[in-house]
Protein backbone atom coordinates (compact mmCIF):
# COMPACT_ATOMS: atom_id res chain seq x y z
CA UNK A 1 0.00 0.00 0.00
CA UNK A 2 1.48 3.31 -1.03
CA UNK A 3 -0.17 6.17 0.79
CA UNK A 4 1.60 8.64 -1.46
CA UNK A 5 -0.48 7.65 -4.50
CA UNK A 6 -3.34 9.91 -3.68
CA UNK A 7 -6.04 11.09 -6.03
CA UNK A 8 -7.03 14.24 -4.18
CA UNK A 9 -6.26 17.39 -6.12
CA UNK A 10 -4.42 20.54 -5.17
CA UNK A 11 -7.56 22.62 -4.58
CA UNK A 12 -8.79 20.24 -1.87
CA UNK A 13 -5.56 20.69 0.07
CA UNK A 14 -5.77 24.44 -0.39
CA UNK A 15 -9.33 24.41 0.96
CA UNK A 16 -8.23 22.42 4.02
CA UNK A 17 -5.46 24.98 4.58
CA UNK A 18 -7.89 27.88 4.14
CA UNK A 19 -10.34 26.29 6.59
CA UNK A 20 -7.64 25.86 9.27
CA UNK A 21 -6.37 29.40 8.64
CA UNK A 22 -9.82 30.92 9.03
CA UNK A 23 -10.50 28.97 12.23
CA UNK A 24 -7.19 30.28 13.59
CA UNK A 25 -8.10 33.81 12.51
CA UNK A 26 -11.43 33.53 14.31
CA UNK A 27 -9.58 32.37 17.44
CA UNK A 28 -7.21 35.35 17.29
CA UNK A 29 -10.14 37.75 16.96
CA UNK A 30 -12.53 36.18 19.42
CA UNK A 31 -10.54 34.79 22.32
CA UNK A 32 -9.82 36.55 25.58
CA UNK A 33 -7.15 34.29 26.99
CA UNK A 34 -3.72 35.16 25.58
CA UNK A 35 -2.69 31.49 25.50
CA UNK A 36 -5.73 30.68 23.37
CA UNK A 37 -4.63 33.45 20.99
CA UNK A 38 -1.14 31.91 20.77
CA UNK A 39 -2.72 28.51 20.02
CA UNK A 40 -4.79 30.04 17.22
CA UNK A 41 -1.63 31.62 15.82
CA UNK A 42 -0.03 28.18 15.69
CA UNK A 43 -3.08 26.90 13.79
CA UNK A 44 -2.63 29.66 11.22
CA UNK A 45 1.09 28.92 10.75
CA UNK A 46 0.23 25.26 10.33
CA UNK A 47 -2.31 26.08 7.63
CA UNK A 48 0.34 28.04 5.74
CA UNK A 49 2.63 25.02 5.97
CA UNK A 50 -0.04 22.84 4.37
CA UNK A 51 -0.16 25.27 1.46
CA UNK A 52 3.63 25.25 1.05
CA UNK A 53 3.81 21.47 0.99
CA UNK A 54 0.76 21.14 -1.29
CA UNK A 55 2.16 23.55 -3.87
CA UNK A 56 5.49 21.77 -3.70
CA UNK A 57 3.80 18.40 -4.23
CA UNK A 58 1.51 19.38 -7.08
CA UNK A 59 3.33 22.07 -9.06
CA UNK A 60 6.44 20.08 -9.85
CA UNK A 61 7.52 18.40 -13.01
CA UNK A 62 10.55 16.56 -14.26
CA UNK A 63 12.01 19.67 -15.86
CA UNK A 64 12.77 21.41 -12.58
CA UNK A 65 16.38 21.19 -11.49
CA UNK A 66 16.59 18.26 -9.09
CA UNK A 67 18.32 20.45 -6.51
CA UNK A 68 15.32 22.76 -6.19
CA UNK A 69 12.54 20.23 -6.20
CA UNK A 70 11.90 20.29 -2.45
CA UNK A 71 12.03 24.05 -1.99
CA UNK A 72 8.46 24.20 -0.67
CA UNK A 73 9.26 21.60 1.97
CA UNK A 74 12.31 23.59 3.05
CA UNK A 75 10.17 26.74 3.33
CA UNK A 76 7.71 24.82 5.52
CA UNK A 77 10.62 23.64 7.67
CA UNK A 78 11.74 27.23 8.24
CA UNK A 79 8.18 28.20 9.14
CA UNK A 80 8.18 25.42 11.75
CA UNK A 81 11.47 26.74 13.18
CA UNK A 82 10.12 30.28 13.43
CA UNK A 83 6.87 29.01 14.97
CA UNK A 84 8.79 27.11 17.63
CA UNK A 85 10.86 30.20 18.48
CA UNK A 86 7.72 32.32 18.53
CA UNK A 87 5.78 30.05 20.88
CA UNK A 88 8.77 29.82 23.26
CA UNK A 89 9.17 33.58 23.53
CA UNK A 90 5.40 34.12 23.56
CA UNK A 91 4.79 31.74 26.44
CA UNK A 92 7.72 33.22 28.39
CA UNK A 93 6.10 36.64 27.93
CA UNK A 94 2.75 35.25 29.07
CA UNK A 95 4.31 33.85 32.23
CA UNK A 96 6.10 37.14 32.96
CA UNK A 97 2.93 39.17 32.43
CA UNK A 98 0.99 36.74 34.60
CA UNK A 99 3.56 37.17 37.36
CA UNK A 100 3.12 40.93 37.29
CA UNK A 101 -0.62 41.12 36.68
CA UNK A 102 -2.13 37.81 37.88
CA UNK A 103 -4.12 37.65 34.66
CA UNK A 104 -4.02 36.17 31.15
CA UNK A 105 -6.94 38.21 29.86
CA UNK A 106 -5.91 40.43 26.94
CA UNK A 107 -8.65 42.94 27.78
CA UNK A 108 -6.68 43.88 30.88
CA UNK A 109 -3.38 44.33 29.06
CA UNK A 110 -3.90 48.00 28.31
CA UNK A 111 -1.26 49.69 30.40
CA UNK A 112 0.60 50.92 27.33
CA UNK A 113 -2.49 53.03 26.58
CA UNK A 114 -2.45 56.54 27.97
Amino acid sequence: MNLGNLSVGLSTYLLVGAMLFCLGLYGVFAKRNIIAILMSLELMLNAVNINFVAFNRFLWNQKIDIHYILTGNVAALFVIVVAAAEIAVGLALVITIYRNRQSTNVDEFNWLKW
Binding site: G9, L20, F21, L23, A36, V53, V74, L91, Q102
Partner: protein, 167 residues
Protein backbone atom coordinates in the same frame (compact mmCIF):
# COMPACT_ATOMS: atom_id res chain seq x y z
CA UNK B 1 -7.27 4.33 -0.39
CA UNK B 2 -5.33 7.59 -0.24
CA UNK B 3 -8.56 9.51 -0.75
CA UNK B 4 -10.26 7.87 2.22
CA UNK B 5 -7.25 8.48 4.46
CA UNK B 6 -7.07 12.07 3.28
CA UNK B 7 -10.69 12.83 4.09
CA UNK B 8 -10.57 11.09 7.48
CA UNK B 9 -7.56 13.06 8.63
CA UNK B 10 -8.47 16.36 6.96
CA UNK B 11 -11.84 16.28 8.72
CA UNK B 12 -10.11 15.26 11.95
CA UNK B 13 -7.69 18.20 11.71
CA UNK B 14 -10.45 20.69 10.94
CA UNK B 15 -12.79 19.35 13.64
CA UNK B 16 -9.97 19.50 16.19
CA UNK B 17 -9.18 23.08 15.13
CA UNK B 18 -12.87 23.89 15.60
CA UNK B 19 -12.57 22.40 19.08
CA UNK B 20 -9.55 24.61 19.80
CA UNK B 21 -11.40 27.84 19.06
CA UNK B 22 -14.79 26.91 20.52
CA UNK B 23 -13.94 24.95 23.66
CA UNK B 24 -14.72 26.80 26.88
CA UNK B 25 -12.06 24.86 28.78
CA UNK B 26 -8.55 25.91 27.80
CA UNK B 27 -7.02 22.56 28.77
CA UNK B 28 -9.35 20.87 26.27
CA UNK B 29 -8.29 23.48 23.71
CA UNK B 30 -4.64 22.54 24.22
CA UNK B 31 -5.34 18.85 23.69
CA UNK B 32 -7.48 19.54 20.62
CA UNK B 33 -4.49 21.50 19.32
CA UNK B 34 -2.27 18.42 19.60
CA UNK B 35 -4.92 16.37 17.76
CA UNK B 36 -5.12 18.93 14.96
CA UNK B 37 -1.33 18.93 14.53
CA UNK B 38 -1.30 15.13 14.32
CA UNK B 39 -3.99 15.18 11.63
CA UNK B 40 -1.91 17.64 9.60
CA UNK B 41 1.13 15.35 9.99
CA UNK B 42 -0.82 12.58 8.23
CA UNK B 43 -1.63 15.03 5.40
CA UNK B 44 2.13 15.62 5.03
CA UNK B 45 2.68 11.87 4.71
CA UNK B 46 0.04 11.81 1.97
CA UNK B 47 1.95 14.57 0.16
CA UNK B 48 5.22 12.58 0.26
CA UNK B 49 6.80 14.94 2.79
CA UNK B 50 7.94 12.21 5.17
CA UNK B 51 10.60 14.24 6.95
CA UNK B 52 8.23 17.15 7.49
CA UNK B 53 5.62 14.78 8.93
CA UNK B 54 8.16 13.54 11.46
CA UNK B 55 9.21 17.10 12.29
CA UNK B 56 5.57 18.08 12.65
CA UNK B 57 4.94 15.29 15.15
CA UNK B 58 8.15 16.01 17.08
CA UNK B 59 8.05 19.79 17.17
CA UNK B 60 4.34 20.59 17.13
CA UNK B 61 2.63 17.65 18.78
CA UNK B 62 5.57 16.85 21.02
CA UNK B 63 7.01 20.19 22.02
CA UNK B 64 4.64 23.07 21.24
CA UNK B 65 1.49 21.43 22.62
CA UNK B 66 3.25 20.34 25.80
CA UNK B 67 4.67 23.84 26.29
CA UNK B 68 1.19 25.29 25.84
CA UNK B 69 -0.16 22.83 28.41
CA UNK B 70 2.60 23.87 30.84
CA UNK B 71 1.81 27.54 30.34
CA UNK B 72 -1.89 26.82 30.91
CA UNK B 73 -1.14 24.97 34.12
CA UNK B 74 1.13 27.78 35.37
CA UNK B 75 -1.37 30.55 34.70
CA UNK B 76 -4.72 28.93 35.46
CA UNK B 77 -6.96 30.95 37.77
CA UNK B 78 -10.52 30.46 38.85
CA UNK B 79 -12.89 27.94 37.35
CA UNK B 80 -11.28 25.78 34.66
CA UNK B 81 -14.61 25.11 32.91
CA UNK B 82 -14.81 28.81 32.00
CA UNK B 83 -11.13 29.51 31.43
CA UNK B 84 -11.32 30.28 27.71
CA UNK B 85 -14.11 32.80 27.13
CA UNK B 86 -14.91 34.77 23.98
CA UNK B 87 -14.69 38.53 24.06
CA UNK B 88 -17.64 40.80 23.27
CA UNK B 89 -16.74 41.31 19.62
CA UNK B 90 -16.49 37.63 18.65
CA UNK B 91 -19.30 38.10 16.12
CA UNK B 92 -17.12 40.42 14.05
CA UNK B 93 -14.29 37.91 14.18
CA UNK B 94 -16.58 35.14 12.98
CA UNK B 95 -17.93 37.38 10.21
CA UNK B 96 -14.47 38.35 8.94
CA UNK B 97 -13.20 34.76 9.12
CA UNK B 98 -16.18 33.39 7.19
CA UNK B 99 -15.83 36.17 4.63
CA UNK B 100 -12.11 35.42 4.18
CA UNK B 101 -12.81 31.72 3.78
CA UNK B 102 -15.50 32.43 1.21
CA UNK B 103 -13.11 34.60 -0.80
CA UNK B 104 -10.30 32.03 -0.67
CA UNK B 105 -12.67 29.19 -1.57
CA UNK B 106 -14.01 31.23 -4.49
CA UNK B 107 -10.51 31.89 -5.79
CA UNK B 108 -9.35 28.31 -5.33
CA UNK B 109 -12.42 26.72 -6.88
CA UNK B 110 -12.69 29.05 -9.88
CA UNK B 111 -9.00 29.00 -10.80
CA UNK B 112 -8.48 26.26 -13.39
CA UNK B 113 -4.69 26.40 -12.91
CA UNK B 114 -5.04 24.82 -9.49
CA UNK B 115 -7.48 22.09 -10.47
CA UNK B 116 -4.69 19.57 -10.94
CA UNK B 117 -4.31 15.99 -9.88
CA UNK B 118 -1.00 14.69 -8.63
CA UNK B 119 1.50 13.30 -11.07
CA UNK B 120 3.72 10.44 -10.04
CA UNK B 121 6.27 11.52 -7.46
CA UNK B 122 9.84 10.38 -7.90
CA UNK B 123 11.91 12.73 -5.83
CA UNK B 124 11.55 11.74 -2.19
CA UNK B 125 10.98 13.96 0.80
CA UNK B 126 13.25 12.24 3.24
CA UNK B 127 15.78 13.85 5.56
CA UNK B 128 18.54 13.00 3.10
CA UNK B 129 16.88 14.78 0.18
CA UNK B 130 16.11 17.84 2.25
CA UNK B 131 19.56 18.04 3.81
CA UNK B 132 21.04 18.30 0.31
CA UNK B 133 19.03 21.50 -0.16
CA UNK B 134 19.55 22.79 3.37
CA UNK B 135 23.32 22.47 3.22
CA UNK B 136 23.79 23.89 -0.27
CA UNK B 137 21.23 26.39 -1.60
CA UNK B 138 19.74 27.28 1.78
CA UNK B 139 22.96 27.32 3.79
CA UNK B 140 22.65 30.90 5.04
CA UNK B 141 18.96 30.66 6.10
CA UNK B 142 19.76 27.35 7.77
CA UNK B 143 22.50 28.93 9.89
CA UNK B 144 20.29 31.93 10.57
CA UNK B 145 17.56 29.58 11.79
CA UNK B 146 20.06 27.96 14.15
CA UNK B 147 21.05 31.37 15.53
CA UNK B 148 17.38 32.33 15.82
CA UNK B 149 16.57 29.21 17.84
CA UNK B 150 19.49 29.81 20.20
CA UNK B 151 18.56 33.45 20.72
CA UNK B 152 14.89 32.60 21.21
CA UNK B 153 15.76 29.94 23.78
CA UNK B 154 18.03 32.27 25.73
CA UNK B 155 15.46 35.06 25.48
CA UNK B 156 12.67 32.80 26.69
CA UNK B 157 14.71 31.69 29.69
CA UNK B 158 15.65 35.27 30.58
CA UNK B 159 12.06 36.48 30.16
CA UNK B 160 10.53 33.69 32.21
CA UNK B 161 13.17 33.75 34.92
CA UNK B 162 13.40 37.50 35.29
CA UNK B 163 16.63 39.52 35.54
CA UNK B 164 18.06 40.04 39.00
CA UNK B 165 18.89 43.60 39.98
CA UNK B 166 22.63 44.09 40.06
CA UNK B 167 23.66 46.11 43.07
Amino acid sequence: MGTIVFFIFAILAIAAAWGVVTSRNIVHSAFYLALSFSGVAVLYVLMNADFLAAVQLLVYTGAVSIMVVFAVMLTLRGEVSDSNPENRKWGWGAFISVLLFAVIALVVLTNPDWRILPSAWTSGGSAEDMSLLLLSQFMIPFEAAAVLLTVALAGAVILAKGVKENK
